[in-house]
């Protein structure tokens, strides 16, 4: 990373790159965007195929409680990774477990879990506020490129590697298990295993992306590039690739733009606004093209 930052700094000094690249945090943020973008875009297509948009949103919101728990248990307020990871994973797995054992409609169940997680987070924040400056939490809620460290990049890199390797072997089976569980079962696939594996992937990528996109908005980045790609593509292969490309572009442009234009906007918000503008363009294209 040091070499990369040095090269970027020299490039900025020589005038080949914008002045923003002379800042180490900016290089960190762009590397993070390049890592997390393709992953969020790719997983987002499965979120759409499995109709789990509301679920991924709920996991993002649960991060608030996870962070509060982490801080209360003594983790550093700028990086309460253990509390965040443990709470989000338990939240997601418990939600899926209850879903498989009750007849309550899934969206209702997610709504209940989301409300409980948010209420718990709000209650705990009162105690957290006594320990830390509450404004620090804004970074976690809405993302902050200033706070990305080498350790965050390491966590992000490991998470991305795990998920990409997992997806290469399981993408087809996760998709088949959601489209036609009976056919998947007859073929001998353990559909419950693939369901839980996917839930764990979503949770892992959500946690990994919290620093750059923010807990509140990470669900949107799982959803919007996929929704845009769905309007523009004709098969699953191009659907996944375009969604990954759009998510990566959104992350890169959303990170760079506020710096270049000197706008005081959190990185998460600008990334989502860029992604949403792609969606708007695609929607207009479909309407004007008469193919909606």
């Amino acid at each position: 990373m040091d070499t990369l930052r040095l090269l970027a700094s020299q490039g900025a000094e020589a005038g080949w790159l914008s002045e923003s690249f002379s800042y180490a945090f900016m290089v960190n943020a762009l590397v993070a965007a390049l890592l997390v973008g393709p992953l969020l875009g790719g997983l987002g297509t499965l979120v759409i195929a499995k109709r789990l948009a509301f679920f991924s949103e709920a996991v993002g919101h649960a991060a608030l409680t996870g962070i509060a728990i982490g801080v209360l248990l003594g983790e550093p307020p700028e990086n309460p990774i253990i509390g965040l990871f443990c709470f989000c994973m338990i939240f997601a797995l418990l939600l899926h477990f209850v879903r498989n054992r009750t007849a309550v409609p899934y969206d209702t169940l997610v709504g209940v879990f989301l409300a409980v997680a948010l209420a718990g987070g709000a209650a705990l924040l009162m105690y957290v506020a006594r320990k830390i400056n509450i404004h620090m939490l804004e970074n976690v809620l809405f993302g902050s490129i200033l706070t990305i460290t080498d350790f965050d990049l390491l966590v992000l890199g490991i998470s991305c590697l795990l998920i990409i390797v997992g997806l290469m072997f399981t993408f087809n089976r996760i998709l088949l298990a959601s489209i036609s569980p009976d056919i998947a079962k007859v073929r001998g696939y353990n559909t419950h295993f693939y369901d839980y594996l996917f839930v764990m992937m979503i949770t892992l990528v959500t946690i990994a992306a919290v620093k750059i996109v923010g807990a509140v908005l990470v669900g949107a980045l799982l959803l919007i590039p996929g929704a845009t790609a769905r309007l523009m593509t004709k098969n699953m292969g191009s659907f996944v690739l375009l969604s990954s490309l759009l998510a990566t572009l959104s992350c890169l442009i959303g990170t760079l733009l506020p710096m270049e234009l000197k706008l005081p906007i959190p990185s998460g918000a600008s990334i989502i606004l860029v992604a949403a503008s792609f969606f708007l363009i695609a929607t207009i294209y479909r309407i004007v093209g008469g193919r909606s």
């Binding site: 997806l167 290469m168 072997f169 993408f171 998709l175 009976d182 056919i183 098969n235 292969g237 690739l241």
Partner: protein, 250 residues
């Protein structure tokens, strides 16, 4: 050679609704068996029990001659969202290969998938979205999926639903070819005249097993009305599901 299947005292209930009880029958290997009966008679539940998709009481044994063979399954219906860009070719590849759809550059996989679709007359629809197909076309694709691994046991739940005459005739000739290859075929079918054309053993189910035998014996004109009564004339006793039952398919 396909397997024989033996069912012994098979029963199934959903909460207070008794769906099947005391079903005991042997399905010979390498033959076509058609399950018929009125709506709500438990035909699909019986198939799902044999496949291990539903917990049941009793015993179901799938007796393979050598090692456990392949099973092909066509469900009664599958719901495909029209806006999802899942093409017919994607769906076949999904069932055929582990290479992720976004990273599948293996031409052999695509050639094999297209050949399978051509067999069912669907090659020219390969790039259509699954959700855009008619019900009959979707059934053809599901049938193509079931035949992918050259299965020894083929289980089909109303496979000709929504199919046109040409599709139905093709289905019948394919079943005939598969029986010649000594595959075991189990079909839920509701079209009496179509079943008469198949060389099949018919099992009429309406909660209990009403009658089993050759199509020509079971489907005699004077017996049809009695066999396919929607209501159940036989009183049913309590049946409790037992998911610990031995089934080699499950």
């Amino acid at each position: 050679m396909g397997p024989s299947i033996s069912l012994n005292d098979v029963g199934l209930r959903y909460e207070n609704n008794i769906v099947l009880q005391d079903i005991s029958v042997s399905l010979d290997a390498g033959k076509c068996h058609v399950i018929m009966g009125p709506n709500g008679g438990g035909k699909t539940s019986l198939l799902r029990s044999i496949l291990g998709l539903t917990p049941f009481k009793g015993e179901i044994n799938v007796n393979w001659t050598d090692s456990k063979g392949k099973i092909g399954y066509v469900p009664q219906k599958a719901t495909f969202e029209p806006s999802l860009p899942l093409t017919v070719l994607d769906f076949i590849l999904l069932n055929q290969s582990r290479s992720p759809l976004f990273f599948n550059f293996n031409k052999k996989h695509k050639v094999k998938a297209l050949a399978q679709l051509a067999r069912l007359g669907m090659a020219d629809r390969a790039m259509f979205r699954m959700g855009q197909l008619s019900g009959g076309e979707q059934q053809r694709v599901l049938f193509a999926q079931a035949l992918l691994d050259n299965p020894d046991l083929l289980i089909l739940d109303e496979p000709t639903n929504g199919m046109d005459d040409q599709g139905v005739r093709y289905f019948e000739s394919l079943i005939s070819d598969l029986v010649k290859e000594q595959k075991t075929i189990l079909v839920v079918h509701h079209d009496i005249s179509a079943v008469r054309r198949l060389e099949a053993t018919v099992h009429v189910v309406n909660g209990v097993l009403i009658e089993s035998g050759d199509a020509s014996e079971v489907l005699q004109t004077n017996k049809i009305e009695q066999l396919f009564n929607h209501y159940r004339s036989t009183p049913v006793s309590d049946v409790v599901n037992d998911s610990t039952v031995n089934s080699e398919v499950a």
